[in-house]
Amino acid sequence: MSKRRTERLLSIVVLLLSSRRYLTAEQIRAAVSGYPEEQEAFKRMFERDKEELRDLGIPLETGRATPVDDDLGYRISRQDYELPEIHLEPDEAAVLGIASRVWQSAELAGAATGAALKLRAASRDGDGDAAASPPLGIQPRLSTQEPAFGPLWEAVRDRRPVTFSHLASGRSEATKRTLEPWGVVNRRGHWYVAGYDRMREAPRVFRLSRITGPVKLAGPAGSVKVPEGTDVRDLVKDWDKPLTYDSTASLRVRAGAVPTLHRYGNPKPDPAHPGWDLITRKYSDPEWYAGYLAWFGPDVVVLGPPELREAVIRHLKGALA
C-alpha cells in the first residue's frame, strides 16, 4: 500500500517536473498508475497526494491548464524545485557529518539528517576519507525532551501566537498564558521561549520544562510581529541575577576534606582547632551559598558573617526535621 503510494507520488513529481505546461488532474491520472476508476475516490486521493507533496516542500504550482477553458492545472518549476549548485570541500563534508548528528532523537534530528543527505547528493567533491570518518574533535548535542519544543518551534518558525499553561518556580498553581513567540533559546542545556505575553502586556521568558499540558496554536501564520531590534538573548540574560561576589565568608574546614574549598580558598591551619583549616571565600547570595555549604555537612563550619552562619544552621535544622 505504502509502496504503491510512494511510487505514485514519485511519478507525479517526475511528470510535473518534466512538463512546461500545467497538467490537469485528469492528465495526471492518465499518466500515473494507481488511481481508482471511481471519480470521488480519485478526487479524495489526489487531494491527499497534493497535500503530502507540499508538506515535503515540493513547490506545486497551480495555473490555468489551457488558455481557452478554466481547467486548473499543476506543474513544478524546476528552478523552484532544485537545490542550487553547491560544492563541499572534504573538511566541509566532515563538519556536515558532525552537524547532522547534533540534534538528539528530537523534532529536528530527521530534518538535519535529511538536509545533510540532500547536500551530499548535490556534491561529490566532499567524498573521501574525511567524510567517511569524521575527524576527532568536538561533538555538540542538543536534546529537546520537553514536549513543548515541537509546537513552539513550529509557532516561532511560522510566526503564530500560542497558548499554554505555565507553572512558575516556587508556585503550586499553573497559569494560562497567551504568547507571541519571538524565539527559542537553549541556555546551559535548558530550553526557553521568549516573546510578548498578552496577559501581562510585556515581554516574558518561559522555561519549556515548566510548561504543563499541550501548547496550542492561537492564530494564523505570519500574525506575530517581532519588534525591530529585539535580541532574544538579552531577554533571557536579564533574567539571571548578576553574581556580585561582594560578601566574604569565613569558614573552618576539616583538613584534607572538601577539595573545592581548599583549592581556591587559600587555607591556613587553625591554631585553635588542630586538624582544621581556616578559609575565606567570596559569595553573592547568602541563601544560595548557605545551601552550597550545607552540602558538605560536618566538614565545614561557618564562622561568619552571622547572616550566612544562621542560614546554614537553618538548612541543617530543616534537614533534621
Binding site: L17, D80, L83, A99, L108, P140, E173, T260, G318
Partner: protein, 316 residues
C-alpha cells in the same frame, strides 16, 4: 516502518546522490542513507518501476545494481536534489552555529554556513530565531583547547579530576577519544587507564591537565558511549532513593537525572533517583534543608538526620 512521505523524501535524495556520482558502492550508499542493503535495493526497484503511461508510455529512471555497485544512466527531472525545507535548513544552521561556538573547525564551519545560507535562501531565515548559549568559563575553555590539541596530536593526558559524588580529587591517565557538549556542558570521553574502561569527564571538574609525551592507545574494545540514550544509565543494582521536594526545590527534578517524577498536591514533587552511591543524595538533602525530605530508603533518611545533627553540634 517508514511512511510513504519519508520514503519519497529519501528517494528524491538517493537518485541524485547516485546520478551525481554515476557509479557508487551499494554498501557505502546504504550506510550513508542509514538503511540496510535490502531496503536500499527495494528503493532502487521502486524508482526503476516508475512508469508514465501518457502521452507516450516510458520509464523515466534507468538504473542498475550488480556486484555491489549502483549506476544510474537516466534520472530525468529528478537528477538534482530538492531544495532545503525550512526545518531542514534551520536544523543544520543552528547545529553549525553551535559547533562553531563550541570550538569546532571554525574555518570549515563558517564556509559551510555561508554555502548553506546561500543555497537555502529564505528557508534558512527561521534559524535566526533559535539561539544556543553555551557558558564555559575561561578555565573550561583553556582545558578544552588543551584536550583538543591532545586529540589532534593523538597523545595521552594526565588528569587531576574532581569526583563530585565523593567530594575528592583523583589522578589518572586518559587516552582521549572525543570532546562532547551535552546538556550545556563539555565532557571529555576517553579510555581511563585507571578504571580500564571508557569514562566521561566533565571539563569544569578537571582541575589540572597535562599532555603526556606518550601516544594515546585507545583499545579496540573501547566503545564510544551512545550519549543520545542519555548520559546516565543507572544499573539494576543501584539504590533507589526517593525524595519529596517542596515547591522551592522543584528545580532538582530538572537538574538531576530522575527515574520518576510524580506531582503531589500544593506544587510538591516526589522524585526517584537511582544511584550506586547515596553519599551525594545525603548531601543534596542537607543542601535543600526543609525544602526536601528523604522518603526512602529509611537508612538514608536516618543518615541525613545524623549528619545534620553532627554538623549542628559544631555550632553549639
Amino acid at each position: 516502518m517508514v511512511t510513504s512521505a519519508e520514503r519519497l523524501r529519501r528517494l528524491l535524495a538517493l537518485v541524485p546522490y547516485v546520478a551525481t556520482r554515476r557509479v557508487v558502492s551499494l554498501p557505502e550508499t546504504a550506510r550513508t542513507f542509514g538503511m540496510t542493503e535490502r531496503e536500499l535495493i527495494d528503493d532502487l526497484n521502486l524508482a526503476w518501476c516508475v512508469e508514465l503511461r501518457a502521452p507516450e508510455p516510458y520509464c523515466p529512471i534507468d538504473l542498475s545494481y550488480e556486484d555491489g555497485e549502483i549506476s544510474i544512466s537516466q534520472a530525468e527531472s529528478i537528477a538534482r536534489p530538492l531544495r532545503l525545507a525550512a526545518d531542514e535548513a534551520s536544523a543544520l544552521l543552528v547545529a553549525l552555529r553551535m559547533l562553531a561556538e563550541a570550538g569546532g573547525d571554525r574555518d570549515a564551519v563558517n564556509r559551510l554556513i555561508a554555502k548553506i545560507e546561500s543555497a537555502a535562501g529564505a528557508a534558512g531565515a527561521a534559524s535566526s530565531q533559535v539561539t544556543i548559549q553555551q557558558f564555559d568559563s575561561p578555565r573550561v575553555r583553556r582545558v578544552a583547547a588543551t584536550l583538543s590539541g591532545a586529540l589532534t596530536a593523538g597523545r595521552r593526558v594526565h588528569l587531576r579530576h574532581y569526583v563530585w559524588s565523593r567530594d575528592e580529587d583523583t589522578e589518572r591517565d586518559v587516552d582521549p577519544m572525543r570532546l562532547l557538549v551535552v546538556e550545556g556542558r563539555t565532557y571529555l570521553e576517553g579510555w581511563c587507564r585507571r578504571a580500564e574502561s571508557v569514562r566521561l569527564f566533565r571539563l569544569d571538574r578537571v582541575v589540572e591537565v597535562d599532555v603526556l609525551d606518550v601516544p594515546a592507545e585507545v583499545p579496540e574494545e573501547a566503545e564510544p558511549r551512545d550519549v543520545d540514550a542519555g548520559l546516565f544509565r543507572p544499573s539494576e543494582t543501584d539504590v533507589l532513593a526517593e525524595l519529596e521536594l517542596g515547591p522551592e526545590a522543584r528545580w532538582i527534578a530538572e537538574s538531576y537525572p530522575c527515574e520518576s517524577v510524580t506531582e503531589l498536591p500544593d506544587g510538591r514533587l516526589r522524585i526517584g533517583l537511582r544511584t550506586p552511591d547515596t553519599t551525594w543524595v545525603r548531601r543534596l538533602a542537607l543542601r535543600l534543608g526543609e525544602d526536601a525530605r528523604v522518603v526512602s530508603p529509611p537508612e538514608l533518611a536516618d543518615d541525613v538526620r545524623a549528619t545534620a545533627a553532627a554538623a549542628l553540634a559544631q555550632y553549639d
